[in-house]
Assembly symmetry: C2
Homo-oligomer: 327 residues x 2
Amino acid sequence: MSIATVSLVVNGKADGRVSPGQQEVVRRAVADLGYRVDSRARELVTGQRSTVALLLPELSSPFFGYLAMGVSSVLGGGYDLVLAIAERRGGGAPDQLDRLVGARVGGVICHAPPDAALRGLGTLAAAVVLLDEPGTAWAGPSVLFDLGGGADSLAAHLLDLGHRHIAYLTPEPDSPTFSLRRAAVLRHFAAGSGGSAIELRAGNDFDAAAAAIRAVAAVGRLNGRSAIVCGTDDQAYGVLLALAELNIAVPDEISVCAFNDLPHSRVVRPALTSVALPARRLGSCGAELLLEVSAAERAGRRWTSHPSVVPTALAVRASTGAAPRRS
Amino acid sequence: MSIATVSLVVNGKADGRVSPGQQEVVRRAVADLGYRVDSRARELVTGQRSTVALLLPELSSPFFGYLAMGVSSVLGGGYDLVLAIAERRGGGAPDQLDRLVGARVGGVICHAPPDAALRGLGTLAAAVVLLDEPGTAWAGPSVLFDLGGGADSLAAHLLDLGHRHIAYLTPEPDSPTFSLRRAAVLRHFAAGSGGSAIELRAGNDFDAAAAAIRAVAAVGRLNGRSAIVCGTDDQAYGVLLALAELNIAVPDEISVCAFNDLPHSRVVRPALTSVALPARRLGSCGAELLLEVSAAERAGRRWTSHPSVVPTALAVRASTGAAPRRS
DNA sequence: CTGAAAGCGCTAACAT
DNA sequence: ATGTTAGCGCTTTCAG
C-alpha cells in the first residue's frame, strides 16, 4: 500500500485503478488511525482555495450574526469560513488583509470595509464581493438592499399619517448605506413639498442615540417635529429610551421608525415600525455570488453583472401613528 | 538573491547573515511585487498552527456575537479565526470537525457542542477549551460563568420581594448551562421552604416562549405564580410579549426575570431584570486560556487546572416588583 | 555572507 | 492494478 494509493482512495479516484481489496485495506487503516488529509498540503499542490473570509466591522448587532449565518449556510461543509472583525478603533484592517492574502483565501465577503481596507481589497488576487455598499467606486460584484424602495415605503407611510416635519437621526461615522437611507427618506420631506427635516448624528448604539435626543430636546429643537426616523434599529431603541425618560408619548406626540427590523423591534415598547433588511439573505446571496464569481474567474472569464438586490419590506408597528395636530 | 535569502529577510532572521544591501533589495522587491509568504506552505514545514476555530451553535443572538468579538480581540492579528456554526438541525457537526482536523487548526474554542461533536473533540489533537459547559464529563480546560452566584442573587432578589411561588421557563433542547441555571434557582423555592415552582419548557426564542406562556395561562396553571424566571433573555422577551397580549401587568401581577442581560433588556418594556452573563469576557478568557494551553502543550507539559470562572451580576430593573398579596 | 539541497504532506503524471 | 517520481512554496541545515 503506497502513499499514492491512499491518496487515490481518500479522494474517491480509485474507481478502476485500485483493487476493491486494497480499497478496503486503506479505508480500514484510515479509520483506525483517524487519518485526515492535510488540506493545506493538498491545496498547496492542487492550487485550489477552500477558504473564504468574511470581513465585518463588528458582531454585536444581531444583524451581523444573521449575515454570518447566511454566509455559513451556503458555504456549508465545503469551505472554511474565516472571520475577520475590523473593529474600527483598532485600525487593524490592513493587518487583517495581510493575513488573508497570506492564507491564500479563495474569496472575501465584505461589509462596510474601512476605506483603507477597501483599497487593499483590490490587491487581493481573490474574488471579492461587497455587501450593502451602494454607489461607491466599487465596480465589482456586490449585493445590495433595495434601500430606495424601503425608504419610499417608509416615507409614504409617514406622509399618509400626516407627518410633514421630521428629524432624521443618522449613524456616525457615516457610510454609503447610511447616507443612501438618509437621502432616500429626506427627499420626501424636502422644503419645496411643504415638508421639512432636520438632521441629527450620533454613534450607532443605544446610548449615543439617546444622548443625542436628550441634547436636542433640551434646546427645543424637537418642537414641531412629529416623527423621528433613524438609520438603524439600534439608534431607534436609544431614541425610545430617551423619549420615555422625557415623558414624550410615542406615537401620540412623536412617531419613531427606522431601518433593519431586528427581531427585538417586535418586543420593545411601543413595538418599532421598521424597514426590514433581511441580513440572512444578504449573507446567503453574497456567498452564492462569491461562488459564482470565483468559478468564473477560475474558468478565465471575468465576471460582470449588475449588483444583486435583495428586497426590503416595511413592517408597520405601534411606534408610528397619526401626526398630532400642530399647535 | 536566492529564495532562501528572501525567506531570511521576510522572517526577520537576517540579522548578521544577509548584507544590509541585499536586505534592502529584497525588501523593495517584496513591496513592488506585493509578495506575501504563503502561510500554508510555511506551516507545512514549520509545523506551527496559526489558526483557531470557534465552534458555535448559532449566531443570531448578540450573546454569541459578543463572545466572538471577545475571542477575536485577544487573538488579534496573530491567528486566523475560523468560524464553525453547528446549526443543530443540520447535524453537520461531524463534518465541521472533520474539516477542522483537515485544516490542522491549532486550537478550538467551543460553546455548547452537540454531543456528537463533544466526543469528536477528543480526537482533535489540538488544544480545546470549552465555554459555559458546566459539570460535564469534560475534564479539560474550560471557562465557566458563576451561574450559581448569579442564580443566588436572583433568587434572593425575588424572595426579598415576597415571591414564593414561581414558574421556571427553561430552553429546550436542554443543555448543561441551562440545567444548572434552573437547578440553582429552583432549590431556593423548594417545597420544604414554603415555596413552590412549576417547570415550563420551550424553544429558545421569542415565539416559542410566548406560545408556551399562552398555553399555560389558558389552562390556568399560572394562577398563584407571582414570578416567571427564564433561562435566557430571549425567552423572557417572548414571555413579556405573551403577558402583554393577555393583559397581565408586569410586574404588578407577575414579575419576569432571566439570565443573560443582553443590551436589549434595557429597552424592552418593562425593562428586564436579568443576571448579566458577560459574553465578551467569556470569549476573551477562553481565547487567553487556549493560548496558554497550547503553549503548554507545545512545551510538552500537560495543562491542568480548575476552570476559570467569570463573575456574574444581577441587573435589577422594572420587570420585577413586589409579589401581589395572594388572593 | 550567500546559495544549493532536503523535505514538510500531499497529488498527478508516469512507469512498471 | 500498483509503485515511483516530481514538484506545490516554503524553511532550514549545510557547503561554499
